[in-house]
Symmetry: C2
């Protein structure tokens, strides 16, 4: 889909970082005029909707420096170069939560901030969840607290902004819909 | 919520742009070690869930340079300095779609990319929607195509990635749930 395409005249690369890069593009607009676009490059990420046998969503609380506060999110992690999203999701699920999944169902792929960033998140649903024998293994600079949250409580956490994250808000609505269908089929 | 707080030792401001800024913070982690955080500052934004009388969601298709493609999103716009989110939402709704609302209900506030950006989106539900007499008025560098999408079609657009945006995926699930409750109450 290329409707209203903005063609790049010149790219000015201003920062190459560990996780993100910054560039400013001069572009030609559909009306022939020119404009500037400030753009962030990000490797992309995965997030995992994991629901326990007793219908609780697995979440992690962590400090987010960008927001200067801690928030509650579904497990997630950045894509490593060349890594398949499914593989990253399996790894992050086990590392952050100590759970493994039999297999993953792709729920949705979406951009997080299409106005300025190319970050894309692949959201998976983890099927056949099992508590792994190994402990959660975190990165050196990663501190998270694991929690298992019933849907009703997750909705309260959305109302009082403890859940303060787009992918997690999406996941709670999706899980609610999914569980309601499953519970109906089983009744 | 300050659990696992990362304290700033030093801030290195690297770019001050028209829409975003970039800084790199040296931080002290909860274990006493230090790390770097690459952080984007963004003014924040609003997005509007607007549903027509015949239960279609109002959406706009636009080119997103960061993604090098056009995607379909609910109406949205950046906060101007000092502007109340409700006011921005009313303005953006009318400018982008030519519709006005009687009042707005705050649905959810969330971070879009908490790993690296402070962007927060306030998602509103527009109540008492009316087609305004005025035409849609767009910014100089803004080209969008308006569409009205039934829920079932929006779900198809999510499946084939024409909808490729976190806030819009959230909005479609939310609208589906809301309409299902309203239709039940009216039946």
């Amino acid at each position: 889909m290329k409707k209203f395409e903005e063609k790049t005249i010149h790219t000015n690369r201003l920062y190459e970082g560990k996780i993100i890069n910054l560039k400013v593009d001069d572009v030609t607009l559909p009306n022939g005029k020119t404009s500037k676009r400030e753009l962030i490059e990000h490797p992309g990420a995965v997030a995992i909707i994991a629901i326990t046998e007793n219908q609780k969503i697995i979440m992690v609380e962590q400090y987010r420096k960008a927001l200067e506060r801690s928030i509650i999110e579904i497990p997630a992690g950045k894509l490593e170069k060349g890594e398949k999203p499914e593989y990253t999701a399996m790894r992050e699920l086990e590392e952050e939560t100590g759970y493994t999944a039999d297999h993953l169902e792709l729920v949705q792929t979406f951009s997080t901030s299409p106005g300025f960033a190319d970050e894309i998140i692949h959201v998976f649903f983890a099927k056949g969840l099992k508590k792994s024998t190994s402990e959660a293994v975190l990165d050196d600079d990663e501190f998270v607290e694991l929690m298992e949250v019933p849907i009703a409580e997750a909705e309260e956490m959305m109302a009082d902004n403890r859940i303060f994250d787009a992918k997690t808000a999406f996941a709670v609505l999706w899980a609610k819909q999914r569980l309601s269908i499953e519970n109906e089929n089983n009744s």
